[in-house]
Symmetry: C3
Subunit: 276 residues, 3 copies
């Protein structure tokens, strides 16, 4: 993966161009994901302009992922049978140079989750990994704590943690939180889009992962895809926050805004900082 | 199945009468359906006046379907164990003359999906089949293409495809799209209700299938049930489109409108054309 | 479990205090629940101030529940493999004095559901059981009927049924309906909060169970936890009903109101009657 090294401003422009491509090409995004967020992440895929498919049968995942522009692996409601399926789909995707985005939900909470996510990192070698501070911290040994699927507290140095994890895993790593940190091991950027309402709903981290995957399906540079996905999702959240009266109406407005996002709005509203 | 042969206007009146019966009788609609749409289709069932139950354990599906007014089979997130369960429930339903509505989600996308849906068609012999152009086209050899679970392009002749599939499967077949085609192999009708917002959300095809099944639970003529389900769902979408600002608020309004639909509104708003 | 024996008014105050603690402590609530409501119940958990985790892998449920403040067992879309998992998690929870809340979805509808729920009652010995009249009636032999997952009609004497079931199961038992009955076998209370819109949406019973579990994670007295959960959920529904135009907008408003609930609002609005 060749990493972009542009200014923050140029990264915003490239994010906007990627959104244009996403809406024109409507790539298929194959999800093997958790039972809690399947509906929401399918919708986020559609709202951004891509086409979602959720498929986890051993008999079809290799065929399905071969048709896709990107693969999401999200073991948030893991059971044993799904691990083998994730491995198969992930390996086929890598063989075909289809980007794989891993969301290590709840890594650090139980031994089973930590070990399964470590195994997926090693054996699939995902293109992009997005998690909260606790999850990424637990997986790369940078500290951080997880309770259930929520991060507890911040990492002492999220920029360094993202950079270290990216090097260890040869992946673009995004640590999302109040500010999102993205690194490919060499260059690092931050995305300051987003809103506190996102923490009041379940699955918003998973939705951010899906947004990244949708962009990765049209944008070969994983760094751009990650920045674009996080900026687009966070910007839609900011715009939604202005017209809601609680988490329920926020989610409705978030879906409206994701659909209404244009390359122009994204170029103007993306708040990317860096290189750090 | 005796096919209705009335004018489009009389079909609209019969749809309205079926809605009246649906709201009075509150039949149970048993779903064996995909993980993405379970919540939405349960809600659509309730909003139309019926009572949903989602059950897929081998130990109970035959007992459960025996209590139901209709059965939905929707293999949208198929795994092997569910196929046997769908067969069992489907056969029991047919033995008891309980209508079975098949939604062949993603047929044409992978060999596994195409073959499983063909097998369900042969061994269950569903009363009604609803799919998009790509799915029905793939299953009956009329052309059409599927990417993931979305149809790509239109069939060269959807009326002929629906008629041919209906004859081949001895079922009422509905091909939904900009205009919906419904045929029982002898007579064919079109339903022009609906709205483009429906394409911006996941699971709206599955919801249409559920609407058909809810009507089939009270209306023995499968043609009327299919027309009523599609007209009711599409009309609610039209009414919702007038008061939304994106897919999020459209879905909220769609649920409000499905609940608010009366036989009078349906009789006045159903846009059924035919016999073709 | 020591049962509260206060006046209805003092129970309202204790409910408000429990909400204060819930929002401060943000306990983890582990759900092993059905596929239809996972997203909604995760959101209800968050909206009330707790932290949800959905986990059902045999490899991790005992470790996960050990980290939790409460466990929800909801076999609403049961399959065989999940039963053993519910037993394991339930037993570990009881060993650690972590409250277990059982929602016997659809008990009475099929033999499999009735027997599985009886077995969970016997072998887990849940702290609190919440069901509709049909479900509790079927399990404790007090009459009542279930069609699918919905109760048909009322129990001849819901207060007596709740009391009898509570004694038989050594649990706090809540029978929800137009008015909710809660008993620990000695003292009984009613909660009159709630709104008819709740019956137009799927999973609102499951959401009420989750609300009870969230309170049980911070409130050791199961009677207070049940009353607080039902009053809080029902009060949010009443407030939401004032600003909606159907079930879709009601659900949005319900989520807003659950998040906006304060101890003061709950203290003023809880409509608890008793001891009966």
């Amino acid at each position: 993966m060749s990493s972009a090294r542009g200014t923050a401003e140029s990264m915003g422009r490239r994010a906007a161009t990627a959104l244009e491509r996403l809406r024109a090409e409507r790539p298929l995004v194959h999800h093997i994901t958790n039972l809690v967020v399947m509906n929401d992440t399918a919708n986020v895929t559609l709202l951004l302009g891509a086409s979602p498919v959720m498929a986890h049968a051993a008999e079809e995942v290799e065929e399905m992922v071969s048709l896709a522009g990107a693969l999401v692996l999200n073991p948030g409601t893991l059971e044993r049978a799904w691990i083998e399926v994730m491995l198969r789909a992930g390996r086929r995707a890598r063989e075909r140079s289809i980007p794989v985005v891993l969301d290590p939900v709840g890594a650090g909470a139980t031994t089973f989750r930590t070990e399964t996510n470590r195994m997926l990192l090693e054996r699939v070698r995902p293109t992009i990994v997005r998690g909260n501070a606790g999850e990424i911290g637990a997986l790369c040994g940078a500290g951080g704590a997880v309770r259930g699927v929520d991060s507890v507290g911040d990492l002492p140095d999220a920029v360094a943690a993202a950079r270290g994890a990216a090097r260890a895993w040869a992946a673009v790593v995004a640590i999302t939180g109040r500010s999102d940190q993205v690194s490919d091991g060499t260059r690092s950027y931050a995305v300051d889009n987003g809103h506190a309402w996102l923490t009041t709903l379940t699955g918003t981290g998973c939705m951010a992962t899906t947004a990244i995957a949708a962009f990765a399906a049209v944008e070969p540079d994983g760094m751009i895809a990650a920045l674009a996905g996080l900026a687009a999702f966070g910007l839609a959240a900011e715009r939604a926050a202005g017209r809601c009266s609680g988490p329920g109406s926020f989610k409705v407005a978030l879906f409206d805004e994701l659909h209404g996002l244009t390359p122009e709005i994204l170029a103007a509203g993306a708040r990317i900082r860096g290189p750090l």
